[in-house]
Symmetry: C2
DNA sequence: ACGCCCATGCGTACAGTGTGCGCAACCCAT
DNA sequence: ATGGGTTGCGCACACTGTACGCATGGGCGT
C-alpha cells in the first residue's frame, strides 16, 4: 500500500520459485518456433518482439539474450522453415520427376508460410543457414547426377521460377486471408473493379473470362498454372542435357 | 517573449504569402515521385512519412490529404515505376526477340528500384493501376499475336521467372549497397564464411569455384545467369506453339 | 558447506513509426 | 465583404525495436 508504484519490490519468497522451475526458460529454438507460429497465424506485420515475448511468458527484452536482433530472428525463422522442403535423393531414376517433387515441396512450404517470400524478397540468400545449405546441396546433387553441364545455372533458373510463382501466390493468399473472405468470394468481389480497370485494354478481356472461371475452382487453377510453368521450365532445361540422356534408367 | 510556447501565434503578414506562392504545394504526383526518389536512394525501410514530408517542406500529416495511407502510397509508387517497363508492340516480327526485350526491360526496372520486389512480394498483384494494366495488355497482345493457345499461362510463367530472378538480384544488390563495399568486394569477404558453411556438403564445392570466378565480373555473370534462364523458359514456351510457327515472318 | 560469478530475465527509457483529430489559413465564388 | 470548402499542420496516441543497468538465482571453486 505504501509503495504503490512498484508492485513487487519486496521479494516475498513465493512468486519466485516457479519462474525458473516451471520451464526450461527461454531458448533460441523455442523463440524461433513460436515466432513461426505467430507469423503463420497473423502475417508478417503482426509479429512484434513484445507480442512474441508475451506469448512465451517473458519480458520483451529478454528475447535479446538469445537473439541479437529481430532481423536475425527472421533469418533463423527462414532457415528453420527451409528444413521443411524435401528434395529427393540424387539416385532417383528420373531427374525430372525428382525436380517436380522438389518444386512442389518448395511451393507447398512457401504457401504454408506466406511470409517467407516477403522476407526472402527483402534479404535474398546471404543466409547460409544449415537447412538452406542442405537444400542447395541436395539440389546440386540432383542436377549434377542428371548430367547438366551447368548445374548451378539450371538450378538457379528453376528456383527463380518456383520462387516467383510461389511468392505471387503467397501474396495473393495473404490478401485473401486479410479480406476475411473465401478465395472465390474475393475474386467475385474484385471482378467489377478489375473489369473497369481493363477498360480500353482490348487484349485483357479474354484473360478475365478465365479469371471468372477461376472463381469456380481457384485452388485447382493455381495448381494447374504452377504445373504448366514448371513443365515449360523443365522442357527447356531438358534441351540443355547432353544429347541422348535417357528419361529413365 | 511572452508566449514562448507558440512561436507564431501572431500572423505577422509576411511568412504567409510565400507558402502558397512558391510552389503549387503538395500533390499526389509530387509525393509519389519524391517517395520513389527516397526509396531508390536509401531503401525501403528508410522511407517514413515524416522524412518524406520534410523533404517536401511539408508537415508530416499533410501528406494524408493526398494519399490515404502509406500502403496506398506504395501502391502508387509501384504503378508509377511500372510505367518504365517497355514491352515491344505486338506487330514485331519475332515474338521471341520481343519477349527478350520485355524481360530485360522488366529486370532493368526491378534493379533500378530494388524495393519493387519487396513490395510486390508482400502485396501481389491486386494492384490494378493504369501502368500495370497497360503492361499486362501489351504482354497479352504479344503472346496472343505469337499464337500461343494459352497466352495467360505463358505470360504468368514468364513473369514468374523474371520476377523470381530479378528479386533475388535486387535483394543481393540491396545487401551490397548496405555493406558499403563493391559487389566483388563483398563476394570476396563473404567467401570464407560461405566455404565454412558449405563444409560437409560435397556438391557445393563446385558451386563455390564458380562464385569465386564471379568476383571477377559479377555484373556480367548475373547478366549471363538471367539470359540462360530466360532462354530456357522461352525454349520451353516455343514448344507450346502450334507446330510450324515460323521464328520470323 | 559456503561464497562468488556470471548467465539470464526484466523494468525503464528513448527515439522513431503510422495516423486520427480538430483548428487555422487560404482560395474562390458570390 | 462573406461564407464555404479545400489544404496544411500541431498535437496526441498507441505502438515499434532495442540499449542500459539492475536483480536474481543456479553452478562452480574452494
Amino acid at each position: 500500500m505504501a509503495a504503490d508504484k512498484k508492485p513487487q519490490p519486496i521479494p516475498s519468497v513465493w512468486t519466485r520459485r516457479p519462474r525458473t522451475a516451471e520451464q526450461p526458460g527461454l531458448s533460441q529454438d523455442a523463440i524461433v518456433r513460436e515466432a513461426i507460429v505467430m507469423l503463420d497465424a497473423d502475417g508478417i506485420e503482426a509479429l512484434s518482439m513484445r507480442k512474441l515475448a508475451a506469448r512465451l511468458n517473458a519480458g520483451a527484452t529478454s528475447l535479446y539474450r538469445h537473439v541479437a536482433t529481430k532481423d536475425e530472428l527472421m533469418e533463423l525463422a527462414v532457415d528453420e522453415v527451409f528444413g521443411e522442403v524435401v528434395v529427393p535423393p540424387a539416385d532417383s531414376a528420373d531427374w525430372r520427376a525428382a525436380a517436380v517433387r522438389a518444386a512442389a515441396s518448395f511451393r507447398a512450404t512457401a504457401l504454408r508460410h506466406p511470409w517467407l517470400s516477403s522476407v526472402l524478397g527483402q534479404a535474398g540468400l546471404a543466409y547460409l543457414g544449415p537447412n538452406l545449405m542442405a537444400f542447395s546441396n541436395r539440389m546440386a546433387a540432383l542436377f549434377i547426377k542428371a548430367g547438366f553441364p551447368d548445374p548451378a545455372l539450371a538450378i538457379d533458373s528453376l528456383i527463380a521460377f518456383v520462387m516467383g510463382m510461389s511468392s505471387a501466390e503467397a501474396a495473393w493468399l495473404t490478401t485473401v486471408a486479410r479480406s476475411g473472405e473465401t478465395e472465390a468470394g474475393l475474386i467475385a468481389r474484385l471482378m467489377p473493379e478489375a473489369q473497369q480497370a481493363a477498360e480500353g485494354h482490348e487484349n485483357l478481356t479474354e484473360a478475365y473470362v478465365q479469371a471468372a472461371a477461376e472463381a469456380l475452382d481457384p485452388v485447382g487453377l493455381r495448381d494447374a498454372k504452377f504445373a504448366y510453368g514448371l513443365e515449360v521450365m523443365l522442357d527447356g532445361l531438358a534441351l540443355r542435357l547432353p544429347a541422348g540422356t535417357p528419361p529413365a534408367e
